[in-house]
Symmetry: C4
Subunit: 220 residues, 4 copies
């Protein structure tokens, strides 16, 4: 479906961190290297320190080592301010356009009751049917907030097609690995990336244990 296109998959931090976890997994699995950092005066005004090394908060556009016509975008944070969200989204889309990208796929969370594990939405009226033929059910009604919404929604203003994949989540976990894996399965199906999702199993088991403990706590 996307064979002839040049895709950028974007996952910024959001509800359940589903998009960011999925994008970071893609970056590692596909052995990506950074081609462009993005800074924003809307990011929290702080540097992150790890082992004495201080880095300004930023987003990163990354390129896989072997796969062509694919980019991954992730980041430390979303801008705190609405104006900065719009302007960072515009800056990113401008850069994607210059790279030759044709389709922006953002990864986000859908909070609510739904039997579908992953739902889709697109800015291209003719493309919804194609996505449905690939087993992505369309979101009937709703709103997608933050950068993951804006990057898809603003894509047409830069001549790009916007697609948003939403993983159903309870919204109560700070990191929902199950939902992130559902997104990765959907992306794998759409783009044939041959991802080894079993690498996430140890982390999944850890999450299940933590949830079991959480439940146990409720009885005390």
């Amino acid at each position: 479906m996307f064979q002839s296109g040049f895709i950028c998959i974007c996952g910024l931090p959001g509800i359940g961190s589903v998009g960011k976890v999925a994008a970071d997994f893609l970056a590692t699995s596909l052995q990506c290297s950074t081609i462009k950092p993005f800074f924003s005066p809307g990011f929290p005004p702080q540097v992150m320190v790890s082992e004495g090394l201080a880095k300004l908060m930023h987003g990163e556009l990354m390129r896989p080592r072997e796969r062509e016509k694919l980019l991954i975008l992730s980041g430390d944070a979303q801008p705190l301010d609405v104006l900065d969200m719009y302007s960072l989204a515009g800056e990113i889309l401008q850069a994607l356009k210059e790279q030759g990208v044709t389709d922006v796929i953002t990864l986000a969370a859908y909070v609510g009751e739904n039997t579908e594990k992953v739902l889709g939405a697109t800015t291209d009226p003719n493309f919804a049917a194609t996505l449905e033929s690939c087993n992505i059910s369309m979101l009937r009604s709703g709103a997608i907030g933050g950068l993951n919404g804006l990057l898809a929604g603003m894509a047409p203003r830069y001549g790009l097609r916007g697609v948003c994949l939403l993983a159903t989540t309870s919204g109560s976990e700070s990191v929902d690995l199950f939902a992130a894996i559902n997104l990765l399965s959907a992306i794998d199906g759409l783009l044939s990336l041959d991802l080894d999702l079993s690498l996430l199993e140890p982390a999944l088991e850890q999450q299940e244990e933590m949830e079991a403990e959480d439940n146990d706590m409720n009885y005390r």
Copy 2:
């Protein structure tokens, strides 16, 4: 009164949604088509999804299919930030000026006790008497907030005349259809649009039922 003018009627979301409901009804009744979308970094940072189709929040300037020298402006939201309200209002007024518009009529709500169903205000000191001769009572004292106020108030800075029509409402309903109909009647009287307001009767009956239920709830 407006025979020789080129009018734009603006109804953005606000108290009781009266302006937006009225403008949307005009857009449907007059079979309008969009001639220009407006975006703002002050709109809530989200895309609206309907049947899988994702659209960025926006305002729309629309042209009726048959009626000349008339435009309708409506939108999904008002900017969240004061600065963005001023800058979107300026951008819209600049576009109206370029279209040849001479009079901007905004539709808004008046919350408070008043025997008049619709009140008026204008930026043109000589025009208040003309409006009163058309049975629009003038607002004696008050303030009109948000885009519906700014579009009228800033109009003279773009060489346009600003008029604001305010429908009296309680301010307690999220959608006050009665007030919207009062605005539409006033507009119909001023511009002879031959609107069929009976089309709103089913919605009105629904609202009356909901209000009855609401009242009932108070007794439990």
Copy 3:
């Protein structure tokens, strides 16, 4: 003291409205006419309506009918946002510089215990002694907030001298006429304007009656 200078007296709304009341009284007494309006995207986004006439919130630079080398600045509001305060102050000071103004005197409130009715501060280290020789005591330590502070404090960046006169007030009244009159007396002494402050007596009596009623309320 100011004989050779070109003075602008500024009174924007603030604590006790002392600056604005004083500036508005000067504008009326000196039969001023507007020479330049100031708008700001930081003003509350609303139009003020009076007898059906809608006006956008604004500031006004005014010129007395007969007195030369004197301007009065007043306004409907202060910007809501700090950034807009700085940028409006800069825009006003630029306009004053272009008019030939040499000294900016702002009128503000001092909340706190002080035996002096009016206190002064200036950006010119050599000028404090001159003001003291005119019976204006200097503020020993404190901060002056908002436009009345910024217009004085930023004046040197535009080559102007900044002076701030502060009337002692309790800070508990929305309009403190007594404090405004103290400012007017001080200004009259400095600039020999021949003001007839008895014109404010009816309003003062009204305020005293209201305060008496207020006090009475405390006993119930």
Copy 4:
């Protein structure tokens, strides 16, 4: 270690005022004079008055009377707004670059349990070991907020090296002199400034007395 470099030491107000107290002490000890003031629309919109003299809030870049290749930066406040923090940090770094500065050392507070009195972080991966060889332990994990974080974190974008020295503090005191002295000792060790820290002893004794009184208060 910094022999061949041109250093700017920055201490803006923050937790426990440790950076500002240390920078102000350096400015006095090294008999600095101001070479460039910095203003920001993000500073609180007020003028500070001292003995009748009104000054706009500002930051100051200062040069020691005798020591070459060293600058000190301090200021009255940090911008209230995130956007203004980034833009002031950029403006300062641009000015430092133009002065020929190669290393920016910011002084800040670390709130939390740590046996080290001073911790370090740097934007240069090769420089952490050098700092450790000078007895500065590296911060293992954390975030440094505000201008003291941004000035170090953004330094590489201007071709400069960023270093942040953090003094451990409880975070409960508005001025933590002990922590400021620890920073000054560390700086003295790194740059051989021959500071006479005994000058701070009277202030330290005063602080100890106040703390003793505070503790005493807890028993009443």
